[in-house]
């Protein structure tokens, strides 16, 4: 039987590849931003799946998981804390990209990345 965490991890890797493909091949800034958020979701999925352990439960102590048995009953909490951070920072980065895309559109009247040739050599 295939492990849950392997399915989640494979999905995450696929999402990263899909997102990078979209970011590399699209010319439209908005599409590139959407592609980056897809890749971002993939990275988060891979990180979370690393912490998964078969037959264990969420790292929250209650009547089902008494504090004394925590270390044998819960999954790894560290990747979850890490991904919590990554999601929030990802949102900040997306908002920044959108704001810059808006300014670029105002400057040139287009979202086509090929039209922005100032930094090309």
């Amino acid at each position: 039987m295939v492990d849950m965490s392997l399915i989640a991890m494979a999905t995450g890797f696929v999402l990263i590849l899909v997102g990078l493909y979209g970011a590399l091949t699209n010319r439209n800034l908005l599409r590139m931003i959407v592609a980056f958020t897809v890749a971002d979701a993939g990275v988060n999925l891979v990180l979370v799946s690393v912490g998964y352990m078969r037959g264990r439960t969420a790292p929250i102590l209650d009547s089902a998981v008494p504090a004394t048995e925590a270390s044998v009953r819960i999954i790894d909490p560290v990747p979850q804390a890490l991904v919590l951070t990554a999601i929030v920072i990802g949102l900040g980065v997306t908002a920044l990209m959108l704001a810059y895309a808006y300014r670029l559109y105002e400057a040139k009247g287009t979202l086509d990345i090929a039209k922005f040739s100032e930094l090309k050599w």
């Binding site: 890797f13 969420a58 929250i60 270390s71 909490p77 804390a81 704001a99 808006y102």
Partner: protein, 232 residues
């Protein structure tokens, strides 16, 4: 065409790397050393039922302060970038009217959404949830208001007052931990209480509520800045 092929070749290489990682991956059967420490020491030392919260707010509290700062910076830069040369004319006649359902629904739902957001961050040390999630829920209430009335003006003064006061109190609690407990952002300046009670885990509920308000205000300011760019 050539460019697309190069991109595909690059991704194929990356995909091979990922495939190697995936095939070699063996899930752990035991917690590693640091995870075991967090699992065993959270209840006696921190008193929080949610171990992820204990890590985010106390064990790695300084990183969370940095993260909130990054978010603050990105909200500020979004505001700055979008404010340059902004000219906004009030012209409600140019907008299609929003539906009755959306207007009435937003009046009914917004207070409930704000309540849910507050619930999520106040209970961050007990349930899955916390300041970041609660703050995002608060901001989704703001988003609903903006959808119902795209021309609605949010007071940037109020948003930044909430944001800065929450930040100041967050750092003040951290410094109090330096004086009265073991170190910066130590939660033991307040009694730990009973595991699983609302008033437990020392200063964690207070810190996470402040983070919730701060994150909510930051997201709300990003949303308001982006909404004000709307051209009529």
């Amino acid at each position: 065409m050539i460019k697309r092929l190069i991109a595909l070749a690059l991704l194929a290489g990356l995909g091979l790397l990922f495939l190697g990682l995936l095939l070699d991956y063996r899930p752990d059967t035991d917690l590693n050393l640091s995870a075991r420490y967090y699992a065993e020491r959270t209840a006696p030392d921190i008193g929080a039922a949610n171990i992820v919260t204990a890590i985010v707010v106390t064990y790695r509290g300084l990183d969370t302060l940095g993260e909130v700062t990054v978010l603050f910076l990105s909200a500020t830069i979004v505001g700055l970038v979008l404010a340059l040369g902004r000219r906004r004319e009030q012209d409600p006649a140019g907008l299609a009217p929003v539906g009755e359902l959306l207007t009435t629904g937003s009046r009914l739902l917004t207070p409930l959404i704000l309540l849910l957001g507050a619930y999520v961050f106040v209970n961050g040390h007990l349930t899955p949830g916390g300041g970041f999630q609660g703050g995002a829920i608060l901001a989704s209430g703001v988003l609903l208001l903006l959808l119902a009335d795209p021309l609605r003006h949010f007071s940037h003064g109020l948003i930044s007052a909430v944001e800065s006061l929450a930040g100041v109190f967050y750092v003040a609690i951290g410094l109090a931990g330096l004086v009265w407990a073991g170190g910066f952002l130590d939660n033991r300046i307040l009694p730990l209480g009973d595991l699983g009670a609302l008033f437990s885990a020392g200063a964690i509920p207070a810190i996470y509520s402040l983070i919730g308000l701060k994150v909510g205000a930051e997201f709300a300011s990003m949303l308001a800045s982006l909404a004000e760019t709307q051209e009529l």
